[in-house]
């Protein structure tokens, strides 16, 4: 249920007309929640702008996959291109929004989401390019780990994907934004109290005036 709450809030970040990259895993699920009347082009960094729905069984094509290596389709208006051009799009600032998963986010907007020391390193794929290149970076993740420890930290303890790259963080408890002034609590998720967010957040943050009034 908490995953659903995160996803429902995350899809609101997508506006009509945007070109968007959804990270592998949980962010990919957002694709199905985009309003039907929106004209949104989803980018897959292996070389497709305009990802369509999963194929019918008889449409499956091994030459048409997404960055998660899943078989997909291309929607009307889609284009194919090579990997260098795909990342020129990303690094050149032509992708409006990237929604990525996270392991840790720090109060100054650092993101760690690619490796855990001591475990097998799988690689960063395109994550380091996306956080530096896309115009807006939204991270979605659980607020605490399975031991109940805050993943929203003063400083990330895991190796970084990028420094000061996160614009918005959405968890099952709250929504934060990151500006030059620091980290600000923007919204509480339904049924969540300010005290709960404070107690489960290691990072220091300011509170948006709209929340102070409600609280």
């Amino acid at each position: 249920m908490k995953r659903q709450q995160i996803l429902e809030r995350a899809v609101k970040e997508i506006q009509d007309g945007m070109c968007v990259n959804l990270g592998i895993g949980m962010p990919t699920l957002i694709a199905n929640m985009i309003p039907n009347d929106f004209n949104v082009m989803l980018q897959s960094e292996n070389g497709l702008l305009g990802i369509g729905p999963y194929p019918q069984k008889d449409e499956v094509d091994p030459d048409l996959i997404n960055a998660g290596k899943e078989t997909v389709t291309a929607k009307a208006g889609a284009s194919f291109f090579d990997s260098a051009e795909s990342f020129a799009m990303i690094r050149g600032g032509h992708i409006d929004l990237a929604i990525l998963g996270g392991m840790e986010v720090s109060e100054n907007g650092d993101l760690a989401n690619w490796m855990i020391p001591g475990k097998m390193v799988k690689g960063m794929g395109g994550a380091m390019d996306l956080v530096q290149g896309a115009k807006r970076i939204v991270v979605i993740m659980d607020h605490v780990n399975k031991h109940g420890e805050s993943k929203v930290k003063k400083n990330c303890s895991l190796p970084l994907t990028g420094e000061k790259v996160v614009h918005c963080l959405i968890t099952e408890l709250a929504v934060f934004q990151f500006t030059e002034a620091g980290m600000e609590l923007l919204e509480l998720q339904n049924g969540v109290t300010l005290d709960e967010v404070k107690s489960k957040t290691e990072a220091e943050f300011t509170i948006s005036p709209s929340i102070e009034i409600r609280a």
Binding site: N46, D82, M124
Partner: protein, 231 residues
């Protein structure tokens, strides 16, 4: 003059131990499956392989791992492969992880005669360690070097006898930049056509980059993650 060869074994004849080989493909899509098998059969060792991924345990570049032919792997993501993990942890295999966009650009630069370039990707991370940092207009960038390989293995959909290439859908991926970055570029295709049959407007890779063309039959085109509607 035709660049067509009929034998995959002959095509890789000149590859020796210690060679650097750049290989196209993303996951198992658009991989030069016949050239990889020929290289496995030849058995050359201590190879440096540059490719976005390293196949799976029994297919693609995983075949070279199985045969312990790879000394060093330069890739962006290698998470789909247990053999890789074993050889990495035991120290048999050296790994350089490169952000995917940086890898694509390093190949593009290598193929275009550009020795190095600056990018913001990786700044403030482990990737930036030991690299030159430089500021442009108030933003910090790191220097990354171009890559040129002794050989490049490419998979395309169609070729003509000059080596002009057309790719299909997302099987294009790294293949066009890989084609430019090999001192010797070997291409395998599903279909060979006559000179003049490809519309010049439709050609993705000019034959200038290609040394040899081979036609493969019965492509397996394995699917890593079969996902369908209503599944």
């Amino acid at each position: 003059m035709s660049k067509l060869l009929t034998s995959f074994d002959n095509a890789i004849e000149r590859i020796e131990d210690g060679a650097t080989i750049i290989v196209g493909g993303f996951g198992l899509s658009g991989i030069p499956e016949k050239l990889i098998i020929a290289l496995r059969n030849k058995g050359v060792k201590d190879l440096t392989i540059v490719s976005n991924n390293c196949g799976v345990d029994d297919w693609g570049l995983g075949l070279l791992l199985e045969n312990k032919q790879i000394k060093k792997m330069i890739a962006s993501y290698v998470g789909e492969n247990k053999l890789f993990e074993q050889q990495f942890l035991s120290g048999e295999l050296e790994v350089e992880l490169v952000p995917q966009g940086t890898l694509a650009e390093r190949l593009r630069a290598g193929g275009a005669g550009i020795p190095a370039f600056y990018t913001a990707t990786g700044v403030g991370t482990e990737v930036a360690k030991g690299k030159e940092h430089k500021e442009f207009d108030g933003r910090t960038y790191i220097m990354e070097k171009g890559i040129v390989g002794d050989f490049a293995f490419v998979k395309a959909w169609k070729a003509d006898h000059f080596g002009n290439l057309v790719y299909r859908k997302t099987a294009r991926n790294f293949n066009p930049v890989v084609a430019t970055a090999g001192k010797v570029t070997l291409v395998e295709v599903e279909e060979l056509v006559g000179i003049g049959e490809l519309d010049p407007d439709d050609i993705h890779t000019s034959g200038v980059y290609v040394q040899k063309v081979l036609v493969g039959n019965d492509y397996e085109k394995r699917i890593e993650k079969l996902t369908t509607a209503n599944a």
